[in-house]
């Protein structure tokens, strides 16, 4: 609701309605002024003409004629007729249907408007009149009044209708605007949802620009262009590192093979140097392979499912594999599990992921420290996936680096570089977790580091 009212479309429609109503109001006021001016001119003119008629009647037939004329006027049943008061010099009523003591106010131009209580119907009704007083000959004066009640009534009617129409227009406009805004907002929201889905998931997907019309469609096309560019940039960066890794792998293996040949033909005392070179080659090749595997998993689709993995067995294999390493450094390795845990996944990859994390934990834990591996259900609901927590009592990683350690080749601090490795372990672990639809998070173990791996 709040969002729709705050939306661009709704605000635009509301502004438009405001301007439109103001314009209509001004036009109506102008028209009213114009028509009422003309109306009152004709109105006064008709009174003057009536008085002229009375003059003529008086000149021809004196007061008797005037009386008859007035009677005739009264008898003709027209609604919008004149009212008269003929009085003599003393102010006594001689003829006419207006009461004797009619009070009126005089206006600048001689015209008078007065409120008159018409007593004919026996009750007092406030009616607007326009009246004019002239003398008839020397003895009498006559007030001719005409009600503009009718006109006022009609004007009120017109005004009321106009006001209602405008209120209804504004109301309907706002309601219509609300729905139009909600609709366009839905489209924009859908666009936003689609975009975030594409960015999170598969960046090679595009918005369906042909399904959108107008500006939203244009926006979709622009966003698609943006996605094109982003994707090609991403590809660019990735393919540069992938190409380096890929293209260097072949010559590096050739080098390694030649070194290996050399190794066989060299005397024993020289062979140690070659061995070192061979080890360097192997570790370079291993990190290139790791980069390529990470890329493959990041660029590929999610794990399609199919393979059922016994997570408990797999983790206990990992723990068993690393147990002697931990024992060598006198590190206590604890292993806690739930009785049954199986998930969909690629066993080799999951093994790699846990091995990487556990390897790090043992590597960075000092002697007599402890490392704990814990497998549990993600929540009380048994279908909600698993959480594997691998915690150590090593120096840990300060929170500012938590984001960065997942980047390829990132090493936290120079002191850590003394440890073997290429800074790919956690990136690979994360790539594997994402590939399975899971996550890897870090927490402070006080002291040490806790790595939380969630798997669906």
């Amino acid at each position: 609701m709040q969002k729709v009212i705050g939306s661009l479309t709704f605000r635009y429609i509301a502004k438009y309605l405001l301007v439109l109503s103001a314009t209509v109001f001004l036009v109506v006021v102008g028209l009213y002024a114009f028509f009422s001016y003309n109306y009152f001119r004709d109105f006064s003119q008709s009174i003057i003409e009536e008085q002229e008629t009375l003059q003529i009647v008086y000149e021809g037939q004196s007061l008797v004629g005037v009386r008859r004329y007035l009677q005739d006027q009264r008898d003709t049943q027209i609604l919008d007729r004149f009212h008269y008061l003929v009085s003599d010099r003393a102010g006594d009523k001689m003829a006419g249907d207006l009461p004797e003591s009619t009070g009126y106010r005089e206006f600048d131009d001689g015209w008078v408007g007065f409120e008159l209580a018409l007593l004919e119907w026996g009750e007092s009704i406030e009616v607007d009149f326009i009246a004019r007083e002239v003398t008839l000959g020397d003895e009498y004066s006559v007030i001719v009044a005409r009600s503009y009640e009718q006109a006022v009534h009609q004007a009120r009617l017109v005004f009321a209708t106009l006001a209602r129409t405008m209120i209804i227009t504004i109301l309907l406009g706002l309601i219509g605007g609300y729905f139009a805004a909600a609709r366009s907002l839905r489209r924009v929201e859908m666009l936003g949802r689609e975009m975030s889905r594409i960015i999170r998931g598969d960046p090679s997907q595009r918005l369906d620009a042909s399904a959108e019309r107008g500006q939203v469609g244009e926006l979709a096309i622009i966003l698609n262009h943006l996605l094109d560019q982003t994707e090609s940039l991403m590809h660019g960066v990735r393919s540069v590192s992938d190409n380096i890794a890929h293209d260097l792998r072949t010559p590096l293996s050739r080098l390694r093979n030649q070194l290996s040949e050399l190794h066989h033909s060299l005397p024993a005392e020289k062979s140690e140097d070659v061995e070192r070179l061979l080890n360097d080659c192997d570790s370079l090749l291993a990190s290139f392979n790791a980069v390529l595997r990470i890329s493959t998993m990041e660029s590929g689709n999610r794990h399609a499912g199919g393979g059922e993995v016994d997570l408990r067995q797999l983790l206990s294999d990992v723990v068993e594999l690393y147990e002697p390493v931990a024992q060598e450094s006198e590190i206590e390795l604890d292993w806690v599990t739930v009785p049954n845990a199986s998930c969909q996944g690629e066993a080799d990859l999951l093994f790699q992921m846990f091995a990487n994390v556990l390897d790090n934990a043992i590597k960075y834990t000092q002697q007599q420290g402890s490392v704990r591996v814990e497998l549990a259900h993600n929540s009380s609901n048994e279908d909600s996936g698993y959480r594997v927590v691998i915690s150590d009592t090593g120096p840990g990683i300060s929170a500012e680096h938590w984001e960065d350690v997942f980047r390829r080749f990132y090493r936290v601090e120079p002191s850590r570089s003394s440890q073997p490795g290429h800074g790919l372990g956690l990136s690979m672990a994360q790539a594997i977790a994402h590939y399975h639809g899971g996550t890897v998070d870090l927490e402070d173990n006080q002291p040490g580091l806790r790595v939380l791996i969630n798997l669906p």
Binding site: R254, R256, S271, V274, T296, M297, D317, E328, P420
Partner: protein, 227 residues
């Protein structure tokens, strides 16, 4: 060892053939899948090395077709880039081993050795493995050297069993991971070395001759090099 190499990349093929020749193996090279099918059907080989992407007939298809006509020669598949599920797909199609290019020649040689010797020390009916004075009784699941019992953890037993089945051959670290632990992954540290040195402690410590040797730059070997 007589190797059939099916590989369309001439430079890779040339390298592999020359390396095989250097260590005393014979090899026949085919560049194309359909031709390889005929060659493998008509001649006997100890092992096939098959590239995945081949003109004519796909490498996995080739192995599958040969398996269908009852040819059980061990096959190793070479693949250009290790896609995540490639390995599984390769092993499912009837291949016995899988190696991602580019590879170290030592790794390929070790694996070919292991494959071609499958029939020798690895028969299903064997109940007893022996390497010099080291004896493993597969039924009683015990190990003794010179008559003295060697107490092993279950994983150490499996490790030793694999080494004994491939006695005299070079066994690489990845081969041990695949066959002893059952996972194909890339250990970042020397975790396998720790296990092997523990095993070595148990079988070699009190004896004057060492059986479990480290082959520098390649892996390990139990017993003297096989001819």
């Amino acid at each position: 060892m007589n190797v059939l190499l099916v590989e369309d990349d001439q430079s890779v093929a040339k390298f592999i053939c020359s390396e095989l020749e250097r260590v005393g193996h014979r090899s026949v090279h085919c560049t194309e899948g359909d031709l390889a099918y005929d060659t493998a059907r008509d001649q006997a080989f100890d092992v096939w090395v098959v590239d995945r992407m081949l003109p004519g007939r796909d490498g996995l298809q080739l192995i599958q077709d040969l398996r269908e006509i009852g040819n059980e020669t061990p096959a190793l598949v070479l693949s250009a880039l290790g896609e995540v599920d490639d390995r599984v797909k390769g092993l499912r199609s009837g291949a016995d081993d899988y190696l991602v290019k580019p590879f170290a020649m030592d790794e390929l040689l070790a694996r070919l050795q292991a494959l071609s010797r499958r029939g020798v020390n690895n028969q299903d009916g064997t109940t007893r493995l022996q390497v010099q004075d080291l004896v493993m009784d597969l039924l009683k699941q015990n190990v003794s050297r010179r008559g003295l019992a060697v107490l092993l953890q279950p994983r150490e037993y499996k490790l030793l069993e694999y080494l004994m089945r491939h006695a005299g051959q070079v066994v690489t670290r990845t081969m041990l991971l695949e066959h002893v632990w059952g996972y194909n992954f890339d250990p970042q540290t020397n975790v396998i070395d720790v296990h092997v040195s523990r095993l070595r402690q148990k079988i070699d410590k009190d004896f004057d001759t060492s059986l479990l040797l480290t082959v520098r730059g390649a892996g390990y070997r139990l017993g003297p090099e096989a001819q």
